[in-house]
Symmetry: C2
Subunit: 858 residues, 2 copies
């Protein structure tokens, strides 16, 4: 034997200070040693290494067995799984190894005949099922046969079970404890290697060569005369993280019986619903609390304890991190840091940014009955219940009646926006994670399920046909779960979020450490107030077109589009100007001196025009135009690929009067608010869809001219920044040119992803699932940024822009700003800020803090 | 005076061997010196430098005037423009400087009173107009007044003109020759600096600081007793480049009179239309031919001569490169090289690849009357005349009747392809240089004008409303000029191309020098034969979808799309397979062992489905399906941005049976043709729209499996290459990954441009003119490749692909393959070949040769 084999033997006795690395002996082994080191009462135990367990699977028992003495002394043993990572699970524990006729007789004295027989029967059944691969059902039948007037005769059941085992396996039930132990070890080792176990843990993130250690532990019986029993306990709430007793205890039980038979099990603390350990045996309850506190300090985390009470004494069999939801996790982490058990940095690092999602929106209660009728893509988190409506108008009517509704559409268009504002949730049959419905819903913080392809929505007939053929209609109540994409029948219980207390403390810590700014995307004054409530560093994207979809404004916008003469055009612009100005006044008033980045009009003009014949007719009437003229104009503006058409700066250059009106609206609003509030506001004006330097020059010169004019007219001083939205690969590649004329660049990664992949976000839903399932894309690139492609373009742009203009500010505004991996990339790429839906800014703040805390990768 | 000023004086006498760089004294000065050096008879001349002329414009006459002696000796002089570049033009020549009453008397002896007076009158008029800025019309009125019975009294006209001049200018007409000369020099110098002159030469490519030198030359009179006169002559045909006499002579004339008064002017060689120099004065004609031959040798080019005959002696005043069309240029260049006057390399370098366009298609005769009724974007060169038809069906009917027709559509769709094949030209109201109509037309070599926005096409009513309101209908004859985008009424004379002789010799020289392969894009057997006729190195792009638009096949394709079961799907595929196979058999049979690159199905499936309700109805009937089902399926497949949707490899992965069928068709065809012809064929199979490595792996493994199966089934050996089409920016960025699995990469620069700019080629027409006019894009990036953006992506891909797979073949297949600047880029980027429409391959071959001949830029 060489030194290293000496250091890490096949089997090691678990003692305080023992060196048992998780990758060699599994996580449970390490846990037990830590419990022992904290002087907590843990039964004697040994750990077989991962390598040795692999030999067991091949029936190679050449390893040393240091527990032989215990076996020979007639001690009952358990064999427990100790996977390298707790999260990967493992085969079930096998209890009461060593039991045979002789030991049964020995135990009959302290326990009584029937309890001793019951233990023996239980062992035979367990062993027969787990080692002998017999059917558990057969043993239940035997037990039933041996039961008279509700009283089981375990002695008879033992005899019949032994005979049944011999019948089925052609060999006698082993009575040799050493043989029993070896077979138990082999059976757990083999179970770990089974195909279904591998698939299962693969889904939990285990690699294909994931290893299992095994623990052999002396039993604390849990049954006997006096207070015996077992249970599970943690002293923090799973859902809220607050201090409370959570778990169950069952007298006269072993292992996880208390959790499996919750009907019979007792509560831990006093509870109106039934008896509790605190009442039955207050000393044991107090001791358990004490042990939990010791464990918390030993592990620097709230722990869940597996315990057994043996004649009044509390023993711990295992300790794992306490169960917790995202919300609970935040509360626990904050208290651990406040108690000095962990640093604030560590507290920030323990929480997955994604898990904040469930905190920020109502959730379906874990206890609710789920009658799932469809499943789509979970596009915007949170749960929402309401009556189904099939049009924007119906949604508004529903809101007017004070009735919660879910807007159900094949897909949404900008015309639906008002309806979306009125709805509690959105369900669409088509579209992907960044379809119109998804993007708008996330912006509004509205739960949304898109691409529910297994249902058929007929908006004209106002009905939904489910997969099985059942039909639901307008007014039927459904519930969306935006996290999972589930659509449920009826109104299951929802749990509302609370963002105070620990959550706020936690976020303030994130802000202490993060380097990256986090702004919100906001289009309306309501959005602005929401963003401020979420504590953003500013507004990273105001999509001004959203201001034109309101009823009164849409008409003027359409008049502008239909204007035949300069006079008509100017008349429409004169109507739009005060509307825009008033919006901006409200926004600047809300945000004060925080930066606000306003994107000039972006979508193609046809988005403002009606799409159905009825709407065209009514538009023709309201404008006093022949229908044919309306239809021709709409036809003229129709595009094959609107995403790649006359929009953004292309519109700003070919129809410059719109941008001029917008610039004037901004500047007049700035002047007014500066005067009123005595503050200074420096608006950021962003030009969308740029692909060449000259585009910036042309727009900039016009905006500058408007600013000069307003300064003179209002006798005021204006300070402003003009920048570009980088959405085309060419803008990224030519960032060195473009940056010469711009104060900032903001990456619009939705469009940049579309163009880099040649992939329309509206149409990607059709094949994205197949693509992710086949591993073509590791993830939907509209969900988590494609670092290899889009990321490289961003890095190229950052480097080239900084080289010519070191003062340039760089940001990202898009859905990716709320995705933690993308935020981490932005931090490393050297961006100044990310901007996303206000509802996702906490995620961005935490992700930014984690990125700042990580050691750089190179 | 320092050395350099010494070397290049303000004014230099032009003598054989004089050092007169064009940038200092202008091109005419250099020309005159060259003529003198070749010992040709040129009147004495001096050149003022560009710098000195700038002083003249400021009335600074401090320069030396070495021609003072000539002036004092009573020699008449001319002042001629000598711009740094001939192409920039220049102010008109001023003749007869030095004329005054005294000299008139001197000249009256040899010339006669009236001729001397005529010369004097002419000078007064010329000087008064060009120097004094008076109105030429006033002098015509004076002359008329002095004319009796058709005989002008020039003596009286002189007197009245002198009086009129003094009246108008308040100063006597200058009689001092030196003063006349200075004023003449000043007036030409000032004219050069005028705004309209600057704009004019700017349009001809002159920089804003373009300079003008001036020539002062002794006059050869051109008038007198005996054979006197002047003219212009070249001895090669402008249109064909063949040897012939082109030009005019006018007895008793000066300067360019012969060209301005072609009614009175004589031909050079004998001509049935009228008298000629050859008849009037054969010795002078022979001398002129001789001088032209000397000049050709001196300048190593065919030259146009400006000549004057003075008492029988021929004098040359200037020689410029002979006028020539593209066709003429090729013939001249080939003959110059064959005669040993220039090298083949030089011959190749003198021809602009673009100019070959006019050789490759019929052209509207230069003499034709042009009744232009509209103007659009010239999308595919050549002229075509025919009766207007408004549908594909009508075009086919017209072809069946043997009647030439022009297909007139608002825009074309794949459904129109058969009609386009039947038409002689295409006219659309919408679309840009790479719209469907434009791309298909160029592929077919069909003249095409798109985006003719000034007309209104109503296909249902079968009429076109012109801008003025006039309406043309079906059957009316129009003519398209694809080069200029003009649409003409009626049938002007066309000139047919001849590609033999000099053109073929010229192209064979291009092939000697070029390094870059030139392939053709071809979709049908007809295209393949065409490509072969054009002498391509292979086929760079077979768009297999074009095989499915034929009537019989479209139905089967639609059956495939509507198939509900695997059985139905397989049945449709079984029908398509032999069709594909037969196409491939024909293609491989035509091309033999030349490489053929076949692109697997690319367009989204909805392109195969009907778009009007009538067509859907008829499809429903033919398939025995309810109309609602047809409409629903079409609706399901409709995409917001089809360019960015489920097409290309995305289809190949989500509906793999189509690619498998295509692969089988290719392999079975290869096996059959190899057997039949005893040759070995290595097809190149290209996967479109790739953006990730895994896409290639998935398709490749299926294609490999089909190949293995076919090899076994047919007991044959198959050799093939699998590669990708690089159309997305991501594919270019990830070329290092992707190249690991691919034998070749072909850049699809149409789509790559669309995605790099975020610019749909179908929708770009709306703003592209504005964009180019405003200088946002220097050129339409679909026309000439965007080297800065798209080019960088290509270079990145080439470098990364070569780094991991040095054997990889790289090509470009797209419209840019026929654009000379883009071809030059491909050469420098290290591509192996470009592929374009067969009709544009000569352009690519010449551009490739020129790129190879150029000294590398770094």
């Amino acid at each position: 034997m060489d030194g290293s084999a000496q250091k890490y033997p096949d089997c090691i006795a678990l003692l305080p200070g023992a060196d048992v690395p998780c990758e060699l002996y599994g996580a449970r082994a390490a846990s037990i040693v830590d419990l022992m080191a904290a002087d907590l009462p843990v039964p004697k135990a040994w750990a077989f290494s991962v390598e040795t367990v692999r030999k067991f699977a091949r029936s190679d028992f050449s390893a040393e067995f240091p527990m032989t003495d215990a076996v020979r002394a007639g001690r009952l043993l358990s064999v427990r799984a100790s996977a390298q990572d707790r999260a990967w699970g493992g085969p079930e524990t096998l209890l009461n190894i060593g039991m045979n006729a002789d030991l049964r007789d020995v135990l009959a004295k302290p326990l009584g005949e029937n309890r001793a027989d019951a233990l023996y029967f239980r062992f035979i059944q367990d062993y027969a099922v787990k080692v002998g691969r017999l059917d558990a059902e057969d043993f239940e039948i035997i037990l039933e046969r041996c039961t008279r007037a509700g009283v089981p005769n375990f002695g008879a059941a033992v005899q019949q079970s032994l005979a049944f085992f011999e019948d089925e396996t052609d060999s006698a039930f082993p009575s040799d404890p050493e043989l029993q132990l070896r077979q138990a070890l082999r059976s757990l080792a083999v179970a770990w290697g089974g195909t279904s176990a591998k698939i299962l843990r693969g889904a939990l993130g285990a690699p294909s060569d994931a290893g299992l250690g095994l623990i052999v532990q002396e039993m604390v019986l849990g049954v006997g005369r006096g207070e015996f029993g077992s249970g599970i306990a943690q002293f923090v709430s799973v859902g809220t993280g607050e201090k409370t007793a959570f778990g169950r205890y069952l007298s006269q039980s072993q292992g996880r019986d208390a959790m499996e038979d919750t009907q019979k099990a007792q509560f831990l603390a006093k509870d109106p619903r039934g008896p509790s350990l605190e009442e039955i045996y207050p000393e044991a309850f107090a001791r358990l609390q004490e042990l939990a506190e010791y464990a918390r300090k030993a592990f620097c985390d709230d722990m869940q304890l597996e315990f057994t009470i043996e004649d009044g004494a509390v023993w711990l069999l295992d300790a794992i991190p306490a169960e917790r939801t995202g919300r609970g996790a935040v509360t626990m982490a904050v208290r651990l840091a406040t108690d000095g058990l962990i640093t604030r940095q560590a507290a920030l690092q323990t929480i997955s940014p994604k898990s904040l999602n469930e905190i920020l929106h109502p959730q379906i209660s874990a206890k609710a009955v789920r009658d799932r009728i469809a499943n789509g893509i979970g596009a915007s988190p949170g749960a929402a219940t309401g009556r189904m409506v099939f049009s924007a108008t119906a949604a508004q009517a529903s809101e007017a009646r004070g009735e919660a509704c879910i807007l159900v559409r094949v897909e949404t268009t900008p015309d639906d926006i008002r309806g979306m504002h009125s709805a509690n949730g959105i369900l669409t049959e088509r579209g992907g994670i960044t379809s119109h419905a998804a993007v708008v819903a996330r912006g509004m913080g509205l739960p949304c399920v898109v691409g529910a392809a297994d249902i058929d929505i007929d908006t004209r007939a106002r009905k939904v046909t489910l997969k099985g053929g059942e039909v639901l209609g307008e007014g039927d109540v459904i519930t969306l779960e935006g996290g999972t994409g589930d659509v449920l029948r009826g109104a299951p219980d929802l749990v509302q979020p609370e963002l105070g207390g620990a959550f706020q403390t936690f976020m303030s810590w994130a802000d202490e450490f993060r380097k990256l700014g986090v702004r919100g995307n906001a289009d309306t004054p309501e959005d602005f107030r929401m963003a401020q409530a979420f504590g953003v560093d500013g507004i990273g994207l105001v999509r001004t077109e959203h201001m034109f979809f309101d009823e009164g404004r849409l008409t003027v916008m359409r008049e502008l589009i239909f204007a035949d003469s300069d006079n008509d055009r100017q008349a429409a612009l004169n109507l739009l100007l005060p509307m825009q100005r008033d919006d901006f006044i409200e926004m600047f008033t809300i945000m004060g001196e925080l930066p606000v980045c306003i994107r000039l009009l972006d979508p193609p003009l046809h988005e403002f025009l009606p799409s159905t014949r009825e709407e065209m007719q009514s538009l023709a009437e309201s404008m006093g135009l022949p229908l044919s003229k309306v239809m021709t104009r709409i036809d003229d503006l129709t595009e094959f690929n609107p995403m790649l058409g006359t929009r953004g700066v292309r519109l700003g250059i070919t129809a410059p009067e719109i941008y001029e009106m917008q610039a004037r609206g901004i500047f007049e609003a700035v002047a007014k608010v500066q005067n009123a509030k005595g503050i200074s506001i420096k608006p950021e004006i962003m030009i969308p869809l740029v692909s060449a330097k000259r585009e910036v020059e042309l727009v900039k010169s016009r905006v500058d001219a408007v600013a000069s004019a307003v300064q003179v007219e209002l006798n005021t001083k204006l300070d402003y920044a003009i920048g570009v939205m980088v959405e085309t690969p060419r803008a990224a590649l030519r960032a060195g040119d473009i940056a010469q004329n711009t104060a900032f660049m903001s990456f619009g990664t939705n469009d940049l992803t579309q163009m880099t992949y040649g992939l329309s976000r509206d149409d990607a839903g059709r094949f994205m699932r197949d693509y992710v399932a086949l591993g073509v894309f590791p993830e939907d690139p509209f969900h988590s940024m494609d670092i290899d492609g889009v990321g490289e373009l961003i890095q190229i742009a950052v480097d080239r822009a900084n080289a010519v203009n070191p003062d340039i500010k760089m940001g990202l505004c898009g859905e990716h700003g709320g995705d933690s991996a993308s935020v981490a990339f932005c931090h490393e790429a050297g961006l100044d800020y990310v901007s996303c839906s206000p509802f996702r800014t906490p995620i961005a703040r935490l992700a930014a803090a984690q990125a700042a805390l990580n050691v750089p990768k190179n």
